[in-house]
């Protein structure tokens, strides 16, 4: 190849340097190059025969004057069969007319075209198959006639290689792109489209910042240039978690690695992107699960403490009382017998209610409860009666909107516990227990308040009041009630708060969100 080029150089030095019109005389005929080497057709023919590259010689009318064996073979013609035919013979039909125009323009203002710029042109073989080739054009003046030496390079192998590499890279699960020295995208594989939404056509030739979140564009340009300036051509940036920018305008967490490569003297950077969104989502899910497990464990631990204390304690108390009764019987001392047995019975009855409540805590978490219309006044009155409260102790001031829809069982459990607490923590020093249940509503919330004139809650116990198995004093109960209330209120999307003055009473406020559908 090299030797042929140097031979050919004999005919070609001049046209590169000199403007073509100088070589045309007044009669419009091509003039022999002044001072140029004298080339004959025979010399060209010899050079053609020696060249391993496909070559042909074409005159300004587009007629093929000479071909070598390589070219005939490349296009599938017998030796010399193309001589005398127009150059368009070797061009696919659809492009022929356009080519004639281009060829005429070239004849007026010829320019040398070098190979190696990857400009793929389609040729047409004798069997009418399309042949990808790259062309070199060399204007020469041969025996007073302006001609062009055309060299053709078969690109089939190179293109097949490229296609093969492309297919391999497309099969890779991670997104890959090749960015040239100017930061423009030269290649993308199929995974890029899946990851960032862009098709290869949208990306090829664009700057790589297109795939970077907008607020990082300037910074990325600086990084890119400093990376390109690294002396080591194999410089590589290890995987880092960065953000890609999706075509639809959102950030995608990716692990990006950079590898600098050098091909044919030009440096490019191969960028590999691994989608982290799934990994990050999984990590987040795992962390959530771990927290959930921790919470469950802590609940379980509290549950165990509850079983060992709050449920076992009443049985121990009963056992203690019964042993005293037996001893009293044996001693024949009956004075305390009735009161001791009454105490034991009361504890046993209270324990039944506590166990039911505990089971409800365990079960409400699992089953869904249907929403239905609730008659709050009727519900509160009934609960109060069931709990053993006197009608004159209860006042209702309900100003919420009706109908009121909620999970009936959950709502009933909330009210039952609050009312039961009001009864349990009554202040014996006051002449009468007073409990008021009130409701008020705006567009966002409906508040239910349960106010009593009972013992009240000491200020330092207020923060703990909703803790599982927290129980104040000896008014019975398992210490589950208010924790259950809080869980149930949260289940309905609301929140519960308490205010209290010790000795004066307590107010529990249950704030539930107003469901939009109810208003329409």
């Amino acid at each position: 190849m090299f030797s042929v080029q140097s031979q050919m150089h004999q005919f070609t030095q001049a046209p590169e340097k000199m403007a073509w019109p100088d070589m045309i005389n007044e009669r419009g005929e091509h003039a022999r190059l002044q001072g140029g080497p004298v080339t004959t057709f025979d010399t060209v023919e010899l050079a053609f025969e020696l060249s391993p590259v496909a070559m042909l010689l074409v005159n300004s009318n587009g007629k093929i004057c000479l071909t070598n064996r390589e070219l005939d073979k490349l296009f599938g013609y017998d030796d010399g069969a193309l001589i005398g035919r127009v150059i368009e013979t070797l061009i696919p039909e659809g492009m022929r007319e356009e080519h004639v125009v281009l060829r005429d323009a070239f004849a007026v203002l010829p320019a040398k075209r070098r190979m190696g710029v990857d400009r793929v042109i389609n040729g047409l073989t004798a069997t009418k198959t399309v042949l990808p080739i790259e062309l070199g054009l060399e204007p020469v003046c041969l025996e007073d006639e302006a001609m062009v030496i055309v060299t053709a390079l078969d690109l089939r192998a190179r293109m097949a290689g490229k296609a093969r590499i492309g297919a391999i890279l497309d099969a890779a699960s991670c997104a890959m792109l090749v960015v040239n020295g100017e930061g423009r995208i030269e290649f993308v594989n199929r995974a890029v489209t899946e990851l960032l939404g862009y098709t290869p056509q949208e990306l090829l030739g664009e700057t790589v910042e297109m795939l970077v979140p907008p607020h990082l564009h300037s910074a990325h340009q600086v990084y890119r240039r400093s990376f390109a300036s690294l002396a080591d051509q194999r410089a590589m940036a290890p995987g880092r978690t960065v953000c890609g920018w999706h075509r639809d305008g959102y950030e995608v967490p990716v692990e990006g690695s950079l590898n600098q490569i050098e091909v044919d003297g030009a440096r490019s950077v191969v960028v590999t992107l691994v989608d982290l969104s799934e990994r990050i989502a999984t990590e987040k899910l795992m962390a959530e699960r771990a927290r959930e497990l921790e919470r469950l464990n802590s609940d379980l631990e509290q549950f165990n403490r509850c079983v060992s204390h709050d449920l076992k304690a009443p049985l121990s108390s009963i056992a203690g009382l019964l042993s005293l009764c037996r001893e009293d019987l044996v001693d024949g001392s009956f004075d305390d017998l009735d009161s001791t047995l009454t105490r034991a019975q009361a504890i046993a009855e209270r324990s039944i209610g506590d166990i039911e409540e505990l089971l409800r805590v365990a079960l409400t978490a699992e089953r869904g409860i249907q929403s239905a219309q609730v008659e709050v006044a009727a519900l509160v009155t009934q609960l109060w009666e069931d709990l053993g409260g006197r009608p004159e102790e209860l006042t209702l001031t309900l100003a919420h909107r009706v109908p009121f829809d909620t999970e009936v069982a959950t709502f009933r459990s909330i009210l039952r516990n609050l009312l039961s607490n009001a009864l349990r923590y009554r202040d014996p020093s006051k002449p009468a227990l007073q409990v008021e249940v009130s409701a008020r509503q705006d567009n966002t919330f409906v508040d239910f308040l349960v106010t009593d004139n009972g013992l009240g809650i000491p200020e330092d116990f207020l923060p703990e009041v909703f803790g599982l198995f927290k129980r104040l004093g000896d008014q019975g109960g398992s210490g589950i009630g208010l924790n259950l209330v809080q869980r149930n209120v949260e289940r309905l999307g609301g929140e519960i708060t308490v205010t209290s003055v010790l000795g004066e009473g307590a107010t529990f406020k249950v704030r539930l969100p107003v469901v939009r559908e109810q208003e329409t």
């Binding site: 204390h309 108390s317 203690g320 042993s323 005293l324 105490r343 000491p458 116990f461 129980r471 000896d474």
Partner: protein, 138 residues
């Protein structure tokens, strides 16, 4: 004669303990407190006749505000600071049979015993032996 304190938030358990202690006839006074704070307040207010052993403290574990262990720690801190009373005997009385509660009690210098509820007459005998083994305050 000695004095005793029953520290328990459950009234019924204070009742049982009080009757048990009364039966043995060794206590001149049995005080009750429904939580640790009330107990500490009472203990440091009360006056002890010179030459009397004790007092004996029956301490529940699970109570609001301060649990039994926290109460014993606070008691010890005050005893060290004030120098008296120097002969308090604390026994834990709990419905918990958990090994970690027992181990924690055993680690406390002031705590001399651990009894599971309900306390029986044998338990009271054992508490009295503990008291008898103690030197007179001096």
């Amino acid at each position: 004669m000695m004095q005793a304190y029953i520290v328990d938030d459950r009234e019924v358990d204070r009742y049982t303990a009080r009757r048990r202690l009364s039966k043995c006839g060794r206590f001149s006074a049995v005080h009750e407190a429904e939580d640790g704070r009330a107990f500490l307040e009472k203990l440091f207010k009360d006056v002890y006749p010179v030459g009397e052993k004790g007092p004996l403290v029956l301490m529940d574990i699970s109570m609001p505000y301060m649990d039994g262990f926290e109460t014993v720690d606070a008691l010890r801190a005050r005893m060290i600071k004030l120098g008296w009373p120097d002969n308090v005997v604390v026994v834990m009385v709990s419905s918990s049979s958990a090994a970690n509660d027992k181990a924690r009690a055993a680690d406390m210098p002031l705590v001399q015993g651990y009894f599971e509820k309900p306390i029986r007459s044998d338990d009271v005998d054992q508490m009295l032996r503990l008291m008898d083994g103690c030197p007179l305050p001096g």
